[in-house]
Subunit: 176 residues, 2 copies
């Protein structure tokens, strides 16, 4: 495992130790048992229901990618369960088999559909407003694709993936 991701075996063992003892000294790990334990610890042993907020072209890409991955990779536990938008020209229409729902009714659908976490793909300027609403509706994990730093309460976990920022970082390595 260490070799695969470029860290030492010691670190792999130490990280595992954080959660318990999974092997037998002198013998090794029982792979299938370890695998299941890890999936359980990481909450990846059940289907996670993901909500997409903002039915733009990125969403359509994510939905298609997700459908494809779920079809071909049985270990992948993420499922895009709903797509939301507040644009009335979009709500009601169907995106790759999913009806686009009005974001104003998010809280309601969250309960009904059992949505676990949300992905924000709205424009930067709308992202904070959407985040506030998600938090209000009880969402505690947000994946933010808008290029802004979101302010949220401490109990909410936000991961921001700013693709254009990461792209700009690469520019540094260009020959001047």
């Amino acid at each position: 495992m260490g070799e695969r991701i470029g860290i030492s075996s010691a670190l792999v063992r130490k990280d595992l130790a954080w959660f318990g003892e999974f092997g037998k000294q002198g013998v090794g790990y029982e792979v299938e048992y370890l695998r299941k334990e890890l999936l359980s610890i990481l909450n990846l042993n059940r289907e996670i229901k993901v909500a997409l907020i903002g039915a733009g072209s990125l969403d359509s890409a994510l939905v298609r990618y997700n459908q494809n991955r779920n079809r071909t990779d049985s270990t992948f536990s993420m499922k895009i369960a709903a797509v939301f938008d507040n644009d009335e020209n979009k709500t009601g229409t169907v995106l790759a088999g999913l009806e686009i729902l009005p974001f104003s009714s998010f809280a309601e659908y969250k309960t009904k559909l059992g949505l676990d976490l949300a992905v924000i793909t709205v424009p930067a300027i709308k992202a904070q407003e959407v985040a506030d609403r998600l938090v209000q509706s009880g969402i505690r994990q947000i994946f933010n694709l808008a290029p802004v730093k979101l302010a949220v309460p401490p109990e909410v976990k936000v991961t921001t993936a700013d693709l254009s920022l990461e792209l700009e970082c690469l520019a540094y390595y260009l020959k001047p």
Copy 2:
């Protein structure tokens, strides 16, 4: 600057020190001068020409996003200059104003268009093959959106953004 991204002022000063001295002790920084110096150091003071490899739905999202950002944000220096694909049903067609070019002729277009760096959005299984070809053509910076670890020579800088992996990381924080 430290407050904005959540680090101490000391670290900001230390990081700047890596590249030189930009301020006057006792006085402060001349903001516009510092800004220009940093843009120059980061190679963001000129237009960077980006090539997209793989004309799927993600590309179309990126192209639109890029066009929008270039229109509204004059400090943004990335420009998607070309889109490539090897699917003959796609090459020749136009994606948001850009003709889709055959990837087999990448090296040729790279010279002609002055392409600086490449973004890989092809399926995981094709990504290594594409990367090899890009490296062969003289690309030294690759932004990889396919969920695989690419093997490249040490002089090539790869940044991988595996969105589904980052999403899975969030699942850990879900209540079990």
